[in-house]
């Protein structure tokens, strides 16, 4: 690490696992990354790679009793969230760390009016009176650019469109002016024109409120549009981590390269065959040895794949898992 100011959030060798019938599954396997103030860090990967579990672990929201954090640190403003008391975590969650989830319908209570749900945040975290909380909530709706906010306050979630609901969820997440927002697939359920609206809104609010964002997505396009840094995860591990431009221009891990080459873009010739990554996305297992991507590629027995590859900074700010088969220093 260079002598810059301390990052807002530092995740260090975080390990989370789930107790299942098949034994202990490691969903997050020594994940490390950091988020600087005012920056957006994207976590990208395919289903089951552990990106959502990582996010859940940061704020200790793993499903109980199956999920457990087994090791590592999450330093947030000088506090280790892994070891913080439940009361402290409760205060931070929804307070200094806001959360946005994929499906806004499940984040909102269908039987309560919007106004009650948004003002509840102010009543709990800021101990405001009913009236003040209601006014503050109306102001939040205005902030997320919901037309006629006074009127919307008395609506139920089902009366709003998907895009409007996601704005409400953003309003909830930002109510206490958090310094960090964790957004898990915030636009995945939305149409592309609505997605563009929401991403634009988040970027503007980030500027206004100087917050940091952790954006979890499977969509490399969304990453390219919005993130300053990218963390690429595969089978519970970070395989590569770099600034966004650097990662797209100079991907060093075979998995990152494979991912980038599999997306059809508007510039790829029609009906040309796309690059594919053979096999399937790895299932999580209890074993933590070897290079997981080599296992997908069927390179299980060859030498050098039994040990877990190191994770090193190969150029300033560019980290990669240095498996002899998967790490390709730029030619």
């Amino acid at each position: 690490m260079s002598g810059e100011t301390k990052p807002l959030l530092e995740v260090d060798k975080l390990i989370s696992s789930f107790e299942t019938e098949r034994g202990l599954l490691r969903a997050v396997d020594q994940v490390s990354f950091s988020v600087s103030a005012g920056k957006t860090v994207g976590i990208v990967g395919e289903s089951g790679c552990g990106k959502s579990v990582t996010a859940m672990s940061l704020i200790r929201l793993l499903p109980q009793p199956a999920g457990k954090i087994l090791g590592g640190h999450v330093h947030f403003k000088g506090k280790d969230l892994v070891r913080a008391s439940d009361a402290e975590i409760h205060r931070i969650r929804g307070g200094d760390i806001g959360m946005i989830f994929q499906e806004p319908m499940s984040a909102l209570n269908p039987v309560h009016r919007i106004g009650r749900q948004v003002s509840e945040v102010f009543r709990i975290h800021k101990k405001m009176s009913k009236k003040d909380a209601w006014d503050a909530a109306t102001e939040m709706l205005q902030l997320v650019r919901i037309p006629a906010p006074e009127k919307r306050m008395t609506d139920y979630p089902h009366q709003l469109s998907g895009g409007m609901r996601q704005r409400i969820v953003i309003a909830l997440a930002l109510a206490c002016r958090p310094s960090l927002v964790i957004a898990d697939e915030p636009t995945t359920a939305l149409d592309v024109t609505v997605q563009a609206q929401i991403l634009d809104l988040m970027a503007r609010l980030q500027d206004e409120m100087h917050m940091s964002i952790i954006l979890i997505t499977h969509d490399l396009g969304v990453i390219a549009e919005t993130c300053d840094e990218v963390v690429v995860m595969y089978a519970g591990r970070v395989v590569e981590r770099a600034g966004t431009e650097e990662l797209f221009e100079n991907p060093l891990h075979a998995y990152t390269r494979g991912l980038l080459a599999s997306i059809p873009t508007l510039d790829t010739p029609s009906k040309s065959l796309l690059n594919t990554i053979p096999g399937m996305v790895a299932a999580l297992g209890e074993h933590t040895h070897g290079c997981r991507f080599c296992q997908r590629m069927g390179r299980i027995t060859s030498r050098g794949t039994r040990e877990r590859p190191g994770f090193s900074e190969v150029s300033p700010g560019h980290w990669v898992e240095t498996c002899p088969h998967c790490y390709h220093p730029s030619a």
């Binding site: 395919e46 592309v192 563009a196 431009e245 399937m280």
Partner: protein
């Protein structure tokens, strides 16, 4: 097009009644598909894009007669199929098949893969046991699954493999046309590219035609020869795939393309942000639907106007809608309109 099209749809309407009141009388209609015309040639892929609720899936289902159209004509291989009864249409079903977004929902969980693949032969009375056995092995091989898959059940497979089973079943009767309804949108990117490649190869090998329905424009552009853009039950623009992305003429197409996240962080597209959401197809605006969403000053002119597609360039058609095209394009479209009526 010199060759006669395999599928030709003309002025198709699919409306669903909305009932209400004490006697559940019809009080309105959802105009899911409203006056849509298009054609697909042999070996051609027509991509159909639009946002949720625009009617693209309804259109796909109506084309293969899983839904009965309210009005209009569907000609398949020169034969009118829009009014055939389910009984008379069954033998024709061999020629057009459908692939769905979530194969888990379209594959019977209690049937082995072998019985899923043999079922179409059984229904159409084809082959004996040994032949069907051999054909299903061939199908598995063709979609890249091992023979051992035949004795297993759908839940034992991953999403990508299940989609391969869905494709194998669609191929069983050697169809000429396959309607693909969001076939890759539930899949991870590395798996998505495997399935797209498979569809491209199958088309080359068997000369299949596809109606490829999706909301992901990059995917549609990749696989299609021509693309039709749908908005609120109507096709607003259609052109060769390259053209529609390089030179979109309709305001909605432009907004849609600008909204695709660029995969190059250095060259972000200029966004055209739309206000509001896709309006409801129940009681849609009387004039230009998109003009209404944009609160366009010329919206009032479009009420009662013929907004159907007209050719703006060879093979490139756009809705004749003054709210949604440039000033010059509007002049060209108006001229085309008078030529037609003259």
């Amino acid at each position: 097009m010199s060759e006669s099209p395999l599928l030709s749809v003309s002025k198709l309407k699919v409306h669903f009644p909305v009932r209400g009141g004490v006697f559940m009388r019809q009080i309105g209609a959802v105009r899911a598909v409203d006056d849509v015309s298009f054609h697909i040639g042999p070996g051609e892929t027509l991509g159909l894009v639009g946002e949720s609720g625009c009617g693209k899936s309804t259109l796909g289902k109506a084309v293969v007669r899983l839904l009965t159209p309210t009005e209009g004509s569907i000609r398949f291989g020169g034969r009118e199929i829009s009014e055939l009864s389910q009984g008379t249409i069954r033998p024709l079903r061999r020629e057009f098949q459908m692939i769905f977004q979530d194969p888990m929902e379209s594959l019977d969980p209690r049937m082995s893969v072998r019985s899923i693949l043999e079922e179409p032969y059984v229904i159409h009375g084809l082959g004996n046991r040994a032949e069907r056995h051999q054909w299903s092995d061939e199908l598995l091989d063709r979609v890249g699954l091992p023979k051992s898959a035949a004795e297993r059940y759908p839940f034992e497979f991953s999403g990508g493999q299940r989609q391969r089973i869905g494709i194998a079943r669609a191929l069983a009767l050697k169809p000429k046309l396959i309607i693909c309804d969001e076939p890759v949108s539930a899949l991870d990117v590395s798996i998505q590219s495997q399935i797209l490649n498979l569809l491209v190869e199958l088309q080359r090998d068997f000369g299949l035609s596809y109606l490829f329905i999706a909301h992901d424009l990059s995917v549609v552009k990749h696989i299609s020869d021509r693309v039709a853009v749908m908005y609120l039950g109507k096709i607003v623009e259609t052109a060769p795939a390259e053209t529609i992305y390089r030179d979109p003429r309709h305001a909605y197409t432009k907004a849609l393309i600008s909204a695709i996240p660029a995969t190059d962080p250095k060259h972000k597209r200029e966004k055209i942000l739309l206000e509001g959401d896709v309006p409801s197809p129940i009681d849609p605006p009387a004039g230009s639907a998109f003009g209404h969403r944009m609160s366009h000053p010329r919206y009032d002119e479009t009420v009662g106007m013929d907004l159907s597609l007209r050719e703006i360039a060879p093979g490139h058609e756009v809705a004749a809608d003054p709210c949604c095209v440039s000033e010059e394009d509007w002049k060209i479209l108006q001229k085309r309109g008078t030529e037609v009526s003259a």
